[in-house]
């Protein structure tokens, strides 16, 4: 099911995330692999799950294969596709392949640079950028490849993109988002923000774009994780106040504390946006509790 249909029905959309592993996932009749099992645990609580594409530029099982597998286990995948490893032929070909294999949603991303991954000597592709990819994907939906050649069958994909409310200067981020919308983007998923006022300011600026925005929520599991993100993950900042609050409880209570803090944040955030994208990194079991607590705050 396309996410756009949910947004049209004014559904507050909840998504999770599946990170394919470094390894093959041939099932041979066995149970679902762990990374899919984690998503299956929250199957009844989410509308769809993102399937990441060689995340962190580390080589893994392909996002398209993992998306198809995810779908076979009854979850709705959002196939993440990046510009890092594919030229324009490969991107179009993979979008056709995705639709052919039953994928309804794609998230068109630039992709982390090769240099931060585990194959640092590889040749980065970046033949096109995410705005161009969205335009090309919209063209495939309209029955044409990027050179204007007619397709025997058009794709029918809901097109998503990423946005970063932490970006400074924010107006530069907004310019890029405007371009993405003009190119065909139908929904956004954001990077996490831990300051509601910052997100509010961002939402005020993007409201006029008329495209649903899903707030990205990375659950901070420990003060150490916050430090790691601040030091190693560009584009996301965990404020000191957030880290200190977590550091104030015994280690055994981190999960309880993280759940409570996530709920408090999302109570403020939910009324401002059209959905939440959870990146729980192993703690998907807290999502049902979080959702129960914040449901009254979903916008009507």
């Amino acid at each position: 099911m396309k996410l756009t249909e949910l947004f049209q029905k004014k559904t507050f959309v909840i998504t999770g995330e599946v990170g394919p592993v470094k390894g093959c996932s041939r099932l041979n009749g066995g149970p679902p692999p762990d990374y899919i099992q984690e998503a299956l645990n929250i199957k009844d609580h989410v509308h769809a799950v993102n399937v990441t594409d060689n995340q962190g530029a580390a080589m893994r099982l392909g996002a398209l294969a993992a998306s198809v597998l995810t779908k076979q286990f009854g979850l709705e995948p959002i196939f993440q596709i990046t510009c890092r490893d594919r030229n324009r032929l490969a991107i179009q070909s993979d979008l056709l392949a995705a639709c052919t294999l039953g994928i309804d949603n794609v998230l068109c991303l630039t992709g982390d640079h090769i240099k931060i991954g585990d194959h640092k000597s590889a040749k980065p592709v970046f033949d096109i950028d995410s705005v161009q990819m969205l335009k090309i994907a919209a063209g495939l939906n309209a029955g044409q490849d990027m050179m204007g050649n007619q397709l025997s069958q058009a794709t029918n994909l809901a097109l998503g993109a990423a946005a970063n409310p932490n970006f400074e200067p924010l107006d530069l981020q907004i310019i890029k988002m405007e371009k993405k919308v003009a190119a065909g983007c139908e929904f956004f998923q954001t990077q996490p923000v831990y300051e509601p006022r910052k997100f509010e300011m961002f939402m005020k600026k993007v409201e006029r774009l008329g495209v649903p925005v899903m707030f990205g929520m990375v659950v901070i599991k420990s003060p150490g994780m916050a430090t790691f993100i601040n030091e190693n993950v560009t584009g996301i900042t965990v404020p000191e106040a957030w880290t200190n609050q977590m550091a104030g409880v015994p280690k055994a209570d981190y999960k309880k504390k993280a759940t409570a803090m996530t709920i408090e944040l999302l109570k403020e955030i939910a009324p401002m946006c059209q959905g939440i994208h959870f990146m729980p990194f192993g703690w998907s079991d807290i999502i049902p509790e979080v959702l129960d607590a914040i449901r009254p705050y979903f916008p009507q």
């Binding site: 630039t110 240099k115 980065p124 932490n166 560009t234």
Partner: protein, 225 residues
């Protein structure tokens, strides 16, 4: 200019292994500026090769070795010293090496021509004698008019044409926190020029056929193909 760095000495010794007599040819153009292949470095390498027991038949540094005219003018008068060598080693960019090879062939010599430097790109000197920076990849379709005179093809690690990626933080690039994010530089420049609306335009994918190798420049026709 073309940026060059010195190859490790062991690699050079390996390249000339088995050749007793060596002609050392530098370049008094870009390699001299990079302090990798001017006459000083030619003498330095010649001395190091002598310590290895090699005999040096020639030490020269043409004004711009990548230009066949200069290479001919310089190397034709010393043909005998080249002919006396078992190998030539060039302290120049990859182009200088190939033009030197062409010159030796024109002179009727069949002699191995080796390279002593690594070529590292088209570099612009931003701090004289200290730092040069890659700012243009000669993409064949310059878009600097749209980007405030700052090249995203080269200075953005991902060559993004329509704005920054999500990894930019504090104005720095996700790939290297010591390097400015090209798109923040472009934004600030366009803001200063009062031309931000130009950034709203969609930039189509680049025509990489204009970069397909090897390109040939037809100077009289003013055309590259």
């Amino acid at each position: 200019m073309i940026g060059t760095t010195k190859k490790p000495l062991e690699e050079i010794f390996q390249a000339v292994d088995g050749y007793a007599k060596i002609a050392v040819v530098g370049c008094d153009g870009c390699a001299k500026v990079c302090m990798t292949g001017g006459l000083d470095q030619v003498h330095e390498l010649a001395a190091q090769l002598k310590e290895q027991g090699k005999e040096i038949t020639l030490e020269v540094s043409p004004e711009r070795t990548c230009n066949i005219m200069h290479a001919r003018n310089f190397l034709t008068p010393v043909k005998d010293q080249i002919a006396a060598a078992d190998a030539v080693i060039v302290l120049g960019c990859g182009g200088a090496v190939q033009i030197t090879r062409q010159t030796t062939e024109e002179l009727g010599l069949t002699i191995p021509v080796k390279v002593g430097l690594d070529s590292v790109g088209h570099m612009d000197m931003v701090i004289p004698g200290v730092m040069a920076m890659e700012q243009c990849q000669e993409c064949g379709q310059c878009i600097l008019n749209e980007t405030g005179g700052i090249c995203p093809v080269t200075k953005c690690a991902k060559s993004l044409l329509n704005g920054p990626c999500g990894g930019s933080e504090n104005g720095k690039c996700e790939v290297d926190p010591n390097r400015d994010c090209a798109w923040v530089l472009i934004y600030n420049r366009m803001a200063a020029l009062g031309e931000l609306e130009r950034l709203q335009r969609y930039m189509a994918p680049k025509d990489y056929s204009k970069m397909s190798k090897p390109r040939v420049l037809y100077i009289k026709e003013g055309r590259c193909a």
